[in-house]
Symmetry: C2
Subunit: 226 residues, 2 copies
């Protein structure tokens, strides 16, 4: 039934790597077509728009990553080792990409999501879904760690969300500074965070607004610019 094609796959490849190397807003449909060696007519045969392609490409990428994540977070590993597996793999991947392309890509989901979450709801939604799915791995590992007594009690979902934020923050830092070595201790840092933050810190964390002077001063804290 008709001729076959992998042009759609090549378009997704091109889009993903271009977005990765530059940004979503910086690349055009022409750019993607040029890189994929596909004419624009064919582009519109497969996709409605750049956003439509991006959604498809991100979704496919997530489906490709899933087996890797399943492996890293396999139940055969000790709970915290799973998180470490993932962090170490990410570090190696970032380092390798830097070696090959000169660029530390950071987390593609977080980067693209942060860029276009105010413009394209479809892309935002798919990225939210992917990142939420990823957090589930963390939740599972943290929950198992709690059950094994490695970790104090506490809201698993909240712990996982915060650990994920920490992970993404460190990734963004590495991307911005274009230095994969900032992720060399990614696993140490994240595991340390999860373990340490499970115990209530002994010392009070302040927020006592200790003196009337200070209380008064807080009026000047907020920016009125935006």
């Amino acid at each position: 039934m008709g001729r076959t094609s992998d042009a759609d796959q090549r378009l997704m490849d091109a889009a993903l790597s271009l977005i990765w190397e530059q940004s979503y807003g910086a690349i055009t449909i022409d750019d993607i077509c040029r890189k994929a060696d596909v004419k624009k007519g064919s582009f519109y045969y497969f996709f409605d728009s750049k956003a439509d392609l991006a959604v498809a490409a991100l979704d496919r990428y997530w489906k490709e990553q899933k087996p890797l994540w399943d492996n890293q977070f396999s139940a055969v590993f000790a709970p915290m080792q799973r998180i470490r597996n993932h962090c170490d793999a990410v570090y190696r991947q970032q380092r390798e990409t830097q070696r090959r392309t000169g660029r530390v890509p950071g987390c593609p989901f977080c980067t693209i999501g942060s860029e276009i979450c105010k413009q394209d709801e479809a892309i935002r939604a798919v990225i939210c879904e992917i990142l939420d799915n990823k957090i589930k791995y963390w939740e599972s590992a943290i929950s198992d760690a709690q059950r094994e007594g490695l970790l104090g009690a506490g809201d698993v979902a909240e712990k996982a969300r915060c650990a994920g934020a920490y992970f993404e923050g460190l990734m963004a830092q590495a991307r911005l500074h274009n230095d994969a070595e900032m992720l060399a201790s990614l696993g140490d840092r994240v595991c340390e965070h999860i373990l340490a933050c499970s115990e209530k810190p002994a010392k009070a964390v302040a927020n006592t607004a200790d003196s009337p002077i200070n209380a008064a001063k807080t009026d000047n804290f907020d920016s009125t610019l935006y």
Copy 2:
């Protein structure tokens, strides 16, 4: 000598708010001119390019923020209270912006930086400088906290960097989910992180590659896509 103008200021205002609401790549010089009510000829009288304007606007914004930060991190506050001051102010600002515009902006520096750090070195550099400056406030507070015995010893710069990454990660999360309430406990979380991570966690954090089976499996951990 000659006529005066605030068109350059209006252009910076427009650029910053448009970038904030959308993204750097999504807006054009025409967009900025329209919003600022400035003709394109005038744009090129003041600035060489969109990137040139962005650098100027970000630099001005940072200079405007500095007094606020100086106030929040004033030495009259207890060390950890300074960080809490900042986090609370940021939370209020994000909540207020969401109320007014329907959008949680997140950290403009981190968002823009993550977007264009692979494309425009000038913008990347100014954002790096601003964020590095911000980290200095944290370093100072953490150092004071150590001196007062509120915190265990350890590399101050590294602690501040990691706390900053955590902060930025939580901000990015709030932006992506467009939910300022995810930052309601920003101060708690960040302070908790700083305090908790100063003590070496009791339990081993794994990375023992405990069995040959696991060790063998790590071959499949890395993605080969990029």
